[in-house]
Subunit: 157 residues, 2 copies
């Protein structure tokens, strides 16, 4: 993406919103992964969190949820936006980022799970990993309490 | 997948259901792409169609819709199922198939649009393309009438 943007400011908005969503999901008893889609002028296009438990959903991961909540957008809007996710995106969410050609992905952490980062990079998506402690802590607490729900979310037995 | 199944019977159920969903979406004024997820014992796990227009949805492609309607399933259920889609799956839907390790994908046609078939094959997914005339006709009619809605669905200007 263009270097003319105030990334520090945009990234603070984006990861703050994503983390708020992760905490909200945790409080609801859900998988604590949150996401936001932020335009490069700082506008919040969409926010969301994993809804597997809350909505019995197989597809509303944090990223899909944020994209769904953003509603229908023109192709050009996605191409001037960054998606923030508290955890490295799975294959489905990676594919959603590629579908809409979102040029930049900021990831809270990829220690708990590492998804399609290499595929994103192979498609010239800018991938930033923050290695954030709170993102890791939320997931660690959730997985300790509900390991089977987490495995189901990533298609594992 | 195992060769012991009655593929002709399963595939007839699966593509009939997917095509019904595509026709239904067309009748509703929506993008005519339908999908079904069928267990290898013939059970219908989920059906769905593209909901961009009907639900103002950016993520409910036919495949995501069918997976969402199927609800929460154990990993082992997806691994013994085939997904049927009237059109070649986009990157998001390709990623969803990989997330849940669905071993087999039957595609109505890939002339209108060719999605992530190579990536599926690289992950050892069995990909079958039917080159079905009705699938192609539905899309041709839709795109002639509403080219911009179709472009939006595949992230193009
Ligand atoms: Ca919620
Ligand atoms: Ca409908
Ligand atoms: Zn995901
Ligand atoms: Zn799709």
């Amino acid at each position: 993406p263009s270097k003319g943007y105030n990334w520090a400011k945009i990234d603070l908005i984006g990861m703050t919103k994503a983390l708020e969503q992760a905490r909200k999901s945790f409080t609801e008893g859900g998988i604590p992964i949150g996401c936001s889609l932020i335009a490069h002028d700082g506008a919040i296009l969409g926010i969301g969190h994993n809804e597997r438990i809350q909505k019995k959903s197989a597809t509303l991961h944090g990223e899909i949820s944020a994209l769904e909540n953003a509603g229908r957008l023109k192709a050009s809007v996605y191409r001037d936006a960054t998606i923030y996710t508290t955890l490295s995106p799975c294959n489905m969410c990676t594919g959603a980022i590629l579908l809409y050609k979102i040029p930049r992905v900021v990831i809270g952490e990829n220690t708990t799970f590492k998804g399609g980062e290499d595929l994103l990079k192979a498609h010239s998506v800018d991938v930033v990993v923050l290695d954030d402690e709170e993102c890791k802590d939320l997931m660690a607490k959730f997985i300790r309490a509900k390991p089977e729900e987490w495995n189901e979310d990533i298609g594992e037995d």
